[in-house]
Amino acid sequence: MATTVRQEAPDSAADAAALLAEGGRVRIAGRGTRAGWGNVPGDPDLVLRTDAMSEVVEHNAGDLTAVLEAGVPLAEAQRAFAAAGQMLALDPPEDPAGSIGGLFATADGGPLRHRYGAPRDLIVGITVALADGTVAKAGGRVIKNVAGYDLAKLFTGAFGTLGLIVTVAVRLHPRPPEAVTVRARAGDPAALARAAGAAAHHPLEADALDVAWADGTGEVLVRLSGATAASRAHATAQLLELDAEVVEDDDALWAAQRARQRGELVVKVSALATELPRVLGAAAAQGGTVAGRAALGLSWVGLPADDGAARVERLRQALPGARCVVLDAPEDVRAALDPWDAREDPTRVLMRRVKARFDPGDVCNPGLFLVP
């Protein structure tokens, strides 16, 4: 095992591409957060960081777009946008070091996804450094554009296995004025899911619609903004048919909810929205907590780390129709199971073909992802 691994933080796309073209095994680390997600990879020959590519290249306030280098910390970009009353509508759990590149490479996010979509929905253009030493771009910097293939979506969520994201062009949104949150409690997963479902099918125009579950009790959280948020909140509270309150100062409440997406052992469950009661029940049976996007069918299940691999397997068995991807986890858990919950099928064969075209030498993050 190597004692000191070579580290590089190139300051240009061309330099990054040249480093990839050298071959070997390159760990694309970004700024080093979310390093514990995916398979346990072998030792790399080179760790590629994006610290030296950290410029907000453009903020076109009038057009609600921006171009950002991969190494820009999300928090720093948000401060720049907030000065113009705008935001990038992606709100993963707080982490001062977390970068834009890492956010898009892992397709992470938070409660705002309910209204504004995922990273794939907000990226409008991309520049990437590829293993063949070239720098390629796709998309553009306007919000509507169908010229060429949508490689921005392909690289979003690819965990750096197709190449290094160098810059992203994103769509911004106006920062909503005064927001309030309706919080309703239930001790029964079915009642909680029913209330969340009622909110999901009502044209509330909510900014976020989450559920939380811990220690045998749960909450539905509905965030509303706009000039009429307060009065809509009261109507929403009635719609939920649960014991509900309206929280005006709600930032801490949402920070806590987002923090539930991180932990010693966290499994992201992709399911149908109607499976929420089963997800809550399965999580509870393994001693877990849940933070869920109720209308989207996505849940983050926090599990106790002791006997973690067995708990993950039991969760998967209880949710046969869902996909359960392990995110935060101790190395021994990640080594004991397939974190990606991958299925061997023709689609995975196609994914391998995509990887083989972009990175035939398996240079970029080898061993990390569910292909090759």
Binding site: K144, Y149, D150, L151, P174, S231, L272
Partner: protein, 480 residues
């Protein structure tokens, strides 16, 4: 010469569903872009997903290129046949397979029209992407083109609503991309497929997300001294944090044409008009409507008309959507252009279009989705003799869009029509990266060849994975 392919297609889809005589092939020679035409060797109309798969397999075995076709309403020549290739028309695949409102999903076959999706989930839900051709265009075509529409500024595009696809790859293999649930582990091949213009395979099943219908809508038109003033209104609305469901602009010539067809009683002496729609809770809509009216007033807005009922709302929309067909009343021949610009560059680009129109001695009517900067200049010309000149003018308008930081196309696609413009926006390494994706899906290049990419390219073999030789690792030898 056919290698029995046509007979094979007859055996798969039934002889009555394979067209080979010239008269019937003529219907399929072009899509909505009529100045390109080509004669395929056969058109096959499969009736099931399995038949589509078998047709693709037969083409792959014979090494014959194929073009998938939905309703044929595309405006970039994306469904133009390959000469002597096969057209696989999915117009018989028009079943709504599943409506799952509990999960806000609909599963349809690719030949289902756009408007039928909204009908299937009405009245409590709707499917937001709404191209002007929505009563005829197919979901399969929408997926191929990543279609937009007037409500996309707020709601997003086709790609934001497709959660799952069943795709027949060019070698006949069937893959499932995504599904009813979100975030399938692995590469976002779904995102890469939507908008790939039929070059990555044929869609046989589409799973779409639908959303709750808004509780309330307010729709208005207002008229302004110039398109510049109207553009300022759009900027002010957006910077006030208002996200209208739609915000559409027409210039004087487009108003004149639409009025002749729709007879909405629009004044003909203004420089431009805006159609603005707000949706959401009744309370929020009314609050926003007051703000919008104030902004319009500040920029010389007049003759403001707020739709009082659904009939009037439909009339205002009909007038806007009539703009393309109505242009034929001003000029029997015209090209519809589709470019995108950053919204803040609107006045400057419109001035450039005016200059070009004057220089070429031609009329250009402008219709646009103003919220997202998607321009549809209609370049009017007198007859065939002027067609080449009009096409040149149309191309220069695109150059102006790209130079302003925009795009060659917002919703119509590259197809054959714009492929030679691709180098204006993309450099060689970009095109080479596109080709990597194309080759992963279709190494033989049989799915809709000759579209999107500016020049024909071959795929070649994937190089074997690079392996470090033990001598290299030990520092004994180097690789050159």
């Amino acid at each position: 010469m056919d290698g029995g392919l046509t007979d094979r297609l007859r055996a798969i889809a039934g002889p009555e569903n394979v067209l080979t005589d010239d008269d019937r092939l003529a219907t399929y020679a072009s899509d909505g872009l009529l100045h390109y035409a080509a004669r395929p060797r056969a058109v096959v109309l499969p009736g099931t997903a399995e038949e589509v798969r078998d047709c693709v397999r037969a083409c792959a075995q014979a090494g014959v290129p194929f073009v998938a076709r939905g309703a044929g309403s595309g405006l970039s020549g994306g469904a133009l046949p390959v000469a002597e290739g096969v057209v696989i028309a999915v117009s018989r695949l028009r079943r709504v397979l599943e409506v799952d409102l509990d999960n806000q999903r609909v599963v349809v076959e690719p030949g289902v029209t756009n408007v039928e999706v909204s009908k299937a989930v009405a009245p409590d839900h709707f499917y937001p992407p709404d191209p002007s051709s929505q009563i005829v265009c197919s979901i399969g075509g929408n997926v191929a083109e990543n279609s937009g529409g007037a409500h996309c500024f707020k709601y997003g595009f086709t790609t934001n609503y497709v959660t799952g696809l069943e795709v027949v790859l060019a070698d006949g293999e069937v893959v499932q991309l995504g599904g009813k649930a979100l975030d399938t582990p692995g590469y976002d091949l779904l995102g890469a497929f939507v908008g790939s213009e039929g070059t990555l395979g044929v869609v046989t099943k589409v799973t779409l997300r639908v959303v709750p219908s808004p509780a309330h809508e307010e729709t208005l038109v207002a008229f302004f001294p110039s398109t510049g003033d109207a553009g300022d209104v759009v900027s002010d609305i957006v910077s006030a944090g208002i996200v209208p469901a739609a915000i559409e602009m027409m210039d004087a010539l487009a108003i004149e044409a639409s009025e002749q067809m729709a007879n909405a009683g629009y004044p003909l002496d203004s420089g431009g008009c805006l159609l603005i729609e707000l949706d959401g809770s009744a309370e929020e809509c009314r609050a926003r409507l007051d703000e919008v009216l104030n902004i319009c007033g500040r920029h010389g807005g007049r003759d403001v008309r707020i739709a009082q009922d659904e009939t009037e709302r439909a009339l205002l929309w009909r007038t806007r959507k009539a703009a393309f067909p109505a242009a034929a009343r001003i000029s029997p021949h015209y090209f519809v252009q589709d470019g995108v610009i950053p919204r803040t560059r609107l006045s400057e680009v419109l001035r450039r279009i005016d200059e070009l129109a004057e220089e070429y001695g031609m009329q250009v009517a402008n219709v646009f989705h103003a919220g997202d900067g998607n321009l549809h200049p209609l370049v009017c010309y007198a007859g065939e003799a002027e067609a080449a000149k009009a096409e040149e003018l149309s191309g220069l308008i695109l150059t102006a869009c790209v130079d302003a930081g925009g795009s060659l196309t917002g919703e119509h696609g590259i197809g054959v029509d714009k492929k030679h413009h691709m180098p204006k926006m993309f450099d060689e390494p970009d095109l080479a990266a596109f080709q990597k994706l194309r080759c992963a899906f279709d190494p033989a290049g049989l799915a809709n060849p000759g579209k999107v990419m500016p020049t024909p390219r071959l795929c070649g073999e994937v190089p074997g994975p690079y392996r470090v030789h033990p001598l290299e690792r030990d520092g004994v030898a180097e690789r050159f």
